[in-house]
Symmetry: C2
Subunit: 168 residues, 2 copies
Amino acid sequence: MGSTKRTSLLGREIGKSGDFASAEEEAYLSLLRTTSLLERQFEQLFREHDLSESLYNVLRIAAGHGEKGVPTLTIARQLIALVPDVTRLVDRLEKAKLLQRERCEKDRRVVYVKITAGGQKKLEALRKPGEALLHKLLGHLGKANLEELIRLLETVRMPHVSAELKTR
Amino acid sequence: MGSTKRTSLLGREIGKSGDFASAEEEAYLSLLRTTSLLERQFEQLFREHDLSESLYNVLRIAAGHGEKGVPTLTIARQLIALVPDVTRLVDRLEKAKLLQRERCEKDRRVVYVKITAGGQKKLEALRKPGEALLHKLLGHLGKANLEELIRLLETVRMPHVSAELKTR
DNA sequence: CGAAAATAGATGTTGACACAAGTATTGTTG
DNA sequence: CAACAATACTTGTGTCAACATCTATTTTCG
């Protein structure tokens, strides 16, 4: 039985025979599939600039905190994807001279991470192609659809976010 | 200036100061964030059963093709996330006796991958907790929201899918 | 038919990520 | 105030995944 009223694009993409067990399953698989397709394109762009998505996000967060820098653990909390091991991401960015570390004098456990001029240049170089790629991948949705999508995704995260924000 | 009319949940989650550059950017970051949160929960479930999401998907696809099995490259095409290296995923599943290989006699380049009884048992063991997790994570959306989400994600993939399906 | 191209998959290698354990510093509390 | 706990990272280690390369087989076409 199940929903025969709509032909599933996803079903054809992943060769699923028969219906999905539930709308929930189809929504989840759609999310995975869609994110994977988009992410792949961005990874390629980042690779051209010797970065990965994780590295880029660390860089972006450091940039967002400007002159005073940002503690390593704050970066971990603010990363889009929840990745441990920010230390080594910062390691690599420091080696590439895109970031620099500075130990906090008040609390010597804390290390502040600051973006360098080179890091800012790298981000600037990525801005235009990044926006262009975003527009190429999502522009056809239109503003109304985009906002609806944002709203729905927010609803998905709603019950979990609070817990996530609390425990980290 | 930008959209001050809606407080951005995502903005608070990832500590983004100021507005997003565009609805496109916010939608993309929302996608990444949401998928990451959900995926993490599934990875944990799979880990309890000595699987990963990739391994599970390979297993699921093999199961979908039943008795006659399925060529390795077909699995690659049908995976939700585009992963190369299906060979080694199958390697591991074969070692765990969840799958078995069988060389095709008609075209000796092709290897058919078939699920074993053990593999079916593993899938069956995952079915209920999988559905429960799905429901826990997405159930609060309701049918209307889920279908709208599916529709929007389909729209996102629309212009790219054809190319993807063609080139693979 | 036979050489070249295409297909299916396996393998080698490098690097990244994940979990766990370790170190240094600060906070807490009996 | 001394010992224990908590915090903020760092480092060690094993596994996994990605990219390119390689082998075996089949198809194409002059």
